[in-house]
């Protein structure tokens, strides 16, 4: 059933976020530390095990793939509720800080990506996959 896939995804999400919150408390930070990341790792491990042991029929899989396909529309909805007005109204210091920090980190991407050898680019995307 599709709900099994959705339920597995949701359970991994919650377990990861709880782990991230606990790590935050442990470190004394008022923030979640890596919750979504832990959830992703959990999902990878759990679904890999489910597939290997034949507990993940194609229909259950659809429950996860649906949310994956909804990712971009959800991100568009996220963009539509950003505080863009405040981002632009911060005055010269805020604008300069935002611009400079973004540019500096962009410039460092190729440097860091070279650690441990350069990776080959992904194959080109087929239009229907986008």
């Amino acid at each position: 059933m599709i709900i099994y896939g959705v339920a597995a995804l949701a359970a991994c999400h919650l377990a990861g976020v709880i782990l991230g919150d606990m790590l935050g408390v442990l470190l004394g930070v008022q923030s979640n530390v890596g919750g979504v990341g832990f959830a992703m790792l959990l999902l990878i491990v759990v679904t890999d095990w489910m597939r290997r042991t034949d507990r993940m029929p194609a229909l259950s899989e659809q429950g996860i793939l649906f949310w994956s396909a909804m990712y971009i529309p959800i991100v568009v909805a996220m963009a539509a509720q950003q505080n863009v007005v405040a981002a632009l109204a911060g005055g010269p210091v805020a604008i300069l800080v935002g611009l400079a920090a973004t540019a500096a980190c962009w410039a460092l991407v190729p440097v860091v990506a070279r650690i441990g050898g350069q990776d080959a680019p992904l194959p080109p995307l087929l239009p229907q996959e986008a």
Partner: protein, 254 residues
């Protein structure tokens, strides 16, 4: 008319699906017709989303973009942290653990470097504009990291409210820049494989920025970038008011 508006507001999430569907359709049309597909449809959609956010913010004076208009409150649920994080987690489905592990060292380095460089750049610019005490420099530096690290650092250190507001604005601008700019800089910085995406998430840090930027570039990069970005804000909140503040205090002496 009044009745229809009320009905749409009551079915907010369902109405949001229709609205976002229309925005996506319009964006892919614009992408095909105006840029011959060179600027990806999802990139256009995110830019349109940000324009809507600006319109909403200007109309209502609120902080949640178009979602502050009662009719479009459903957008707030659809694009809120809960469903956004669920969708981000779902993109990890089918990712090969070995690829993740291989890129782990680059991801961890990116995190450390991304936080330190953002704080350093923010603090240096703050000092240049006269905010030259360690508390203000750390707070504005935190804003250069993300719009959450700034206020958390500032509150912990007792920064003034105008400095905290400044740090939030800087962080918001960074998130918007990363969302819009990623597809344009991607070819220049080699952002086209799992490892560079992990480096990207760790260096930029802003979850919303990375989530939007990678969606606009190539959806297959999302799980790798999101994986590292998710640790950034927490680590930034940990290091900002402690190690980085003390380092700045040692440099400025006040």
């Amino acid at each position: 008319m009044q009745m229809i508006v009320e009905l749409l507001a009551k079915n907010g999430l369902v109405f949001a699906f229709v609205m976002v569907g229309l925005v996506m359709w319009l964006s892919y049309q614009l992408s095909d017709r105006l840029t011959a597909g060179r600027l990806h449809g999802s990139a256009v959609a995110i830019i349109l989303g940000l324009v809507l956010a600006w319109i909403g913010g200007t109309m209502t004076g609120g902080s949640k973009g178009i979602a502050d208009v009662p009719l479009f409150a459903g957008i707030g649920l659809m694009g809120g942290a809960m469903l956004r994080d669920l969708a981000i987690v779902s993109t990890a489905y089918g990712v090969d653990m070995r690829v993740m592990r291989k890129a782990g060292a680059a991801g961890a380095t990116a995190l450390a470097l991304g936080i330190v460089v953002s704080f350093a750049v923010g603090a240096a610019i703050a000092a240049a504009f006269g905010y030259d005490d360690a508390v203000s420099m750390a707070t504005i530096g935190g804003g250069a990291a993300t719009y959450i690290v700034g206020p958390v650092t500032g509150t912990a250190l007792g920064a003034s409210s105008d400095v905290i507001a400044l740090s939030v604005a800087a962080g918001l601008l960074k998130a918007v820049l990363v969302m819009i700019g990623t597809p344009f800089v991607a070819p220049l910085i080699g952002l086209n494989n799992a490892k560079s995406a992990m480096a990207y998430g760790g260096l930029m840090g802003t979850t919303s920025g990375v989530a939007g930027g990678l969606a606009a570039t190539d959806k297959r990069l999302v799980p790798y970038g999101a994986m590292t970005a998710t640790f950034y804000t927490g680590l930034g909140c940990l290091l900002g008011p402690s190690v980085i503040y003390l380092a700045l205090l040692a440099v400025t002496g006040r």
